[in-house]
Subunit: 315 residues, 6 copies
Amino acid sequence: MEYNKWIADLQAGDEIEGFYLLKSAQIKTTNTGKPFLAGAVGDSSGAVDIKIWDYSGPLGTQDEGTVVKLRGSVSEYRGALQLIISRIRPAQEGDSYSLGDLVPVAPIDASEGWQEFLELVESLQDPDYKAVCETLLEQYGQRFRMLPGGKSMHHSFLNGLLMHTLYMARAAVFLADLYSEVVNRDLLLAGTILHDVAKCREFLTSPLGLVTEYSVPGELLGHLVMGAQAVADAARERGVPEEKSMLLQHMLLSHHGQPEFGAAVPPKCAEAELLSLIDLVDSRMEIYKENMEQLEAGQFSKRVFALDKKIFRHQ
Amino acid sequence: MEYNKWIADLQAGDEIEGFYLLKSAQIKTTNTGKPFLAGAVGDSSGAVDIKIWDYSGPLGTQDEGTVVKLRGSVSEYRGALQLIISRIRPAQEGDSYSLGDLVPVAPIDASEGWQEFLELVESLQDPDYKAVCETLLEQYGQRFRMLPGGKSMHHSFLNGLLMHTLYMARAAVFLADLYSEVVNRDLLLAGTILHDVAKCREFLTSPLGLVTEYSVPGELLGHLVMGAQAVADAARERGVPEEKSMLLQHMLLSHHGQPEFGAAVPPKCAEAELLSLIDLVDSRMEIYKENMEQLEAGQFSKRVFALDKKIFRHQ
Amino acid sequence: MEYNKWIADLQAGDEIEGFYLLKSAQIKTTNTGKPFLAGAVGDSSGAVDIKIWDYSGPLGTQDEGTVVKLRGSVSEYRGALQLIISRIRPAQEGDSYSLGDLVPVAPIDASEGWQEFLELVESLQDPDYKAVCETLLEQYGQRFRMLPGGKSMHHSFLNGLLMHTLYMARAAVFLADLYSEVVNRDLLLAGTILHDVAKCREFLTSPLGLVTEYSVPGELLGHLVMGAQAVADAARERGVPEEKSMLLQHMLLSHHGQPEFGAAVPPKCAEAELLSLIDLVDSRMEIYKENMEQLEAGQFSKRVFALDKKIFRHQ
Amino acid sequence: MEYNKWIADLQAGDEIEGFYLLKSAQIKTTNTGKPFLAGAVGDSSGAVDIKIWDYSGPLGTQDEGTVVKLRGSVSEYRGALQLIISRIRPAQEGDSYSLGDLVPVAPIDASEGWQEFLELVESLQDPDYKAVCETLLEQYGQRFRMLPGGKSMHHSFLNGLLMHTLYMARAAVFLADLYSEVVNRDLLLAGTILHDVAKCREFLTSPLGLVTEYSVPGELLGHLVMGAQAVADAARERGVPEEKSMLLQHMLLSHHGQPEFGAAVPPKCAEAELLSLIDLVDSRMEIYKENMEQLEAGQFSKRVFALDKKIFRHQ
Amino acid sequence: MEYNKWIADLQAGDEIEGFYLLKSAQIKTTNTGKPFLAGAVGDSSGAVDIKIWDYSGPLGTQDEGTVVKLRGSVSEYRGALQLIISRIRPAQEGDSYSLGDLVPVAPIDASEGWQEFLELVESLQDPDYKAVCETLLEQYGQRFRMLPGGKSMHHSFLNGLLMHTLYMARAAVFLADLYSEVVNRDLLLAGTILHDVAKCREFLTSPLGLVTEYSVPGELLGHLVMGAQAVADAARERGVPEEKSMLLQHMLLSHHGQPEFGAAVPPKCAEAELLSLIDLVDSRMEIYKENMEQLEAGQFSKRVFALDKKIFRHQ
Amino acid sequence: MEYNKWIADLQAGDEIEGFYLLKSAQIKTTNTGKPFLAGAVGDSSGAVDIKIWDYSGPLGTQDEGTVVKLRGSVSEYRGALQLIISRIRPAQEGDSYSLGDLVPVAPIDASEGWQEFLELVESLQDPDYKAVCETLLEQYGQRFRMLPGGKSMHHSFLNGLLMHTLYMARAAVFLADLYSEVVNRDLLLAGTILHDVAKCREFLTSPLGLVTEYSVPGELLGHLVMGAQAVADAARERGVPEEKSMLLQHMLLSHHGQPEFGAAVPPKCAEAELLSLIDLVDSRMEIYKENMEQLEAGQFSKRVFALDKKIFRHQ
């Protein structure tokens, strides 16, 4: 009996026990009319199909996305492994397991990252932009820190939005200095910090924090417009001058670069233009990274959906 | 000496006096170094170039878009008429002239139109949508009633926005009834009433009320986003439930139909889809009307910029 | 034994008898070499897979799309229901069943709709446009009345083309009045009445009247060009002046609005422009309706193919 | 006094007399109120501005596009030549001049070309396709032989449509042989012969035969649809089987290759696909030729409008 | 026992022996833990699934794409045929079978085609263009002669590139003569001969010569750029003047016609323009041919991926 | 008499003498037949029209783009200034003037910039990438250092290409560090250094070094392909391994990001993707800078051609 063995390491014949994420679960009926549960469990290393024979509950579809403790044996079925479960129960308070083992988590030290992020906010010289950032982080901070960057395209792991925003902020600080003649550092940095903050309202998340779906306001308004409204409200509350509020709203509304990519308005000042490019840089570099991890040197990928092309991992 | 003769009726040799709109005015210098004013005056029938010899002020560029009283004689220069002005002064309080003779005005009875418009608001059964409409009309009503629908594409005359919205509202009421199985009449009608209300902030206007330019918030935020924010604020103030506020915001944000035509989000409910189509119907019919007035039966127009094609006036 | 039980109401264990539509039928061979028939039957409420063991005919692929009388029992196989048939025969003259129970039919009273449609034709004041409409309805009327509006996108049920055309005609009458300064009511209405009439030649239909495929002339010429030719021929036969014939042909040739959506020429007069927009309005409202019927309030659909987006059903 | 001197050879100081094409003519008034005529005359070598002082008619705008006999002297005005005319009259019956000297004419022997064209029609083995070609050439032949291929893009000279069709037919015959496994020679050749025949109705022409404008049916129906209708009518008259008529109509309807380039339907058989490509080949080669004649070896052109790029003339 | 029976002719119950292409092969395990091989074999007429029970080698995935000798019996499984193999071994030296029976081969006499191709090279009058062609054929000739034209779109059979190039060269010679005023025959012909020569480096091929994948340089540089570099190197080696080298490189770089279709630069001389069109003509005619072979007269195809439309086979 | 007065400071009545750039010059004839020269002179502050009366040479069109010494007086003509020149001669050896006063020069210290650039090359750790950079800088270095970045879009001043490349290299070094998990610093930096090096062959320049036109190889091959060939040749000469040569070529070939923006192949490795984005960042920031210098705070620009939108200069 092996304890919390990685899914990726399972082999036919293994007897295992431990905590796993219940990814899907459906009560079905055999040809002979007996109930059973079919579904899948996973950890951050992968996933495996499960069966629980003669089982009609209490676990079922309503528990997808939660942690379970299980015992079972691994066999092979039609060329793939499956896990036949003999005991299963929901995780309870007091159980001891590591969330980071069960769901994908950003490859950064989240505490340090969050600290650096707060220092970047602190570094804003302009009291108005700083005030808006502070107000919005008070509202959204805790969710913002944990949220993935998206559902599947890139950064779709816990702390993903923090990681994405942090890398962009580092680039923003550097490029604001390189192009200081046209770029106001504080406007660029504040825009970068807040550009995706309304994803906190745009996404629905599973119990463990992964993005499962878009919310109704996410679909009807979008995170660009919701972000701009949040900026407008915060600016009003903090007494920020109208032009600064408008510029910061413009940063958020235009950060997808072009209307056909979702921008509510095209970027019309240098900081907005640069923010949209930094967003492209960071998301593309992460897409390359996530896809290149699957490749060996000298090999091309299959067509990467988010880039609409194959990519190459050189030596 | 003819008084307030229509510009369109001027002929070489005419001596005229009256009130006209000073459309452009620039102080220049002749080859021999003498100052003169070159520019144009107009009324709702057309425009004509002017010259004032030996003139260095007080009228000049700063007075473009205002009404002047003038006296002058009409001659021909290089195949076109021009008006040589002998006396000119700004219109003053107490002068008696009709604004409608000087600038283009919508071909509707504006009072009746406004009355009908208020009755349409009144006809809303849903107290929430009605409350938002009332609040925004309190804020923007007077400007909304006078504003042109745009700078040059269509409805670019006084009361143009009222006329455009009124025609759309009539169509909305009819189509809400025809498609009552999928369309909530009050959501569609409220969305129609408010869809362009933020043009009141998007446009800058001349002293006589014509659109001269986009405002800074108009360029940076656009009337779709500003309208949605105004709805959000009014809804909050009036205690409107969140979902209704969101739906009404969605109507405004999506009314350009597609991102490449300026929609911040694509329409995702039947009312939003229909609003975007009614907007197309009314603007295209008006473009046809304004262009067909220039044509004789059996004739094709030149390429119409707003439609990117030639149009035909049949018998 | 239940008689003509709705497919949607079947449960494992049911014994049924009645008339159903044979949707597909294929003679196959078991591993042990015995012939059997596998396929599906349906009614307007849904469809279910069938098996007839030890069966090699006479029914088979050639009977798809016809009505059969059958007796059988319902069981469950791999999580879905299937109907094991013990007796089956083609429907015969004298059998009594309702077509409307077996295939989807437009949710309108077809007789009243047809009556209203004929009155709309009758309402045409212009004798030339009226003559062309009458001639084409003589040729195509019976097929036109029954034909679906299409294969699967929208209105794909019996009387669908009539319903689509009728709703458009109602909108046309209203909008011709609203925009009477630019729109000739009779040209718009005649164009609306005839715009899809050549779908009668474009579609192939099953024995029960549903669209199965495009015809060869449908693929090579399309219903726009075929419709225009039919108008040209009818106009010549009825002595209609050339310009009117041409205008009516132009209405049909341009009613898809833009070349990339299939228009042979872009609309160049106000009536043609408006017809293309009314077509958009009615088809989109029907797509919303058909898709929203599958949704609960507060829910988003999956991506709707015909709209290329998800849609929302609000409260 | 030089007689019929080429416009391209004129120099300041020349005294000339002869027949020229009156390209434009407008009666104007000098500053001192005297009437004069300003316009331009041309021959196939070029054009020059004209002035006729103290002239109020009878020649004027209504005579544009006709031939005049004139006498005048050449001078320079603002860096360009102009011709001051002392005598002018319309050309009369009995005057002797060569049309080919006055308007651009295709660089082919038109009689031989026409003969070859008729032989190509004669070479059709399929009696049905041949019958349709014969019928349409009876209707349109004389105009077809003289008509330019277009207004300005390419082949915009007399006999231009014949030349374009003839070159395409030569290519069609060759390629039908090369791809005889997929291409029916007679269908391809008949489609090629007829593809632009309805330009005879699409274009309006000046008295000398150049294209001045599109006709009303040209704008509302287009030469593709008009050509297909002419084929349909001819086929019916000559008893051609329906499928052949349909295929030939399809050739004409699809010969612009793609809807966005004006095709009413996309090509769906090999002959239609090939016809659209042969049309591209011949029109592009002629555009290169007409533009390269303006260039010296080793030189790039300005941006060529019809190709949207610069082209190169190599050694 | 039938020998080398065509796959397309197999029927349940056949006992066969012969040489076939091993298209895929994978060692798997039954539910009871026994090894077996599942895969497919094919010849130029088609392919069939195979099973080898109780088999763990030596044949396996590493032998895909090679020829095997096998004996087996045909049965039906889930409605499709499968071949249960009792004996199998790799083809050996000395075995006698025809490659053309096992893999698709161009429907031309490859020796005659190659001879004609060499004569076309020989026909070049310009010693410089000829020298470059000769040099590149020395380098790539043998591979060029055998290589398919592509992986799956068209000409994806042995000698396919030769066939494609040969047909294009025939068209080039004819069209160079037809448009001799703008086209240099030798530049066009040399460009045609060499346009795809670098596909020899762009493609990876299976042991039997079919294209399996793009090479790394094929993906990173593409055959247009690699071809141009090969021309540049050959021209330098053979002392060809710079302008001629450049023109020939331009032919190769631009032969996809437009940047969005892969051209590195757009065609800017008449020969380059014509080459890109000839390439379109030949590839489209071949796509029609390959797809029409699957159709009966009067029938439409399914959507053809390479053309994005359905095509028609007429009588 | 003022010496070398800035063109931007001229006023009617000024008498000036000094060195200026002859921007255009054309010998013309007055109405009375006398020769004169019309053209323009400029310095880095602007340009002014010139006239030289009674002048037929020796200066003329052939001297455009060279420096002249002139004396003249400033007057006003039709509302604009013009300079009537009384004496003019070409600049000679020994004349003393500053080139930087006459043509626009990059706002960097070119010596320091060049030094920094060389140090960046020196910083390459990879001996192969370094070798290729060194070889190409030996070939192109002197021209590269002086060349503008383009003709008019951005960086169209002396040392513009150096400035553009230098800023990009700074960003490349920073971002290679930020994304070190996916980016090879030396490949990115070498690609950045060389990405536009072939503009040295693509542009033709005036005597003073400004870009006047594209060269023939520039038009037929483009700087992407020429750069890749130069890399291939240098790599072969320096014994660089094939894969590294190929990767570096790929960087150059793909640096326009997408085929429709001129990329010969799309970027397929992380370094190529990043290079194309850094190029976008630097060119857009410079476009903003050059356009914002024309604006006052709070003002929008006219539509900027290179961005296809208006831009805003905020406080």
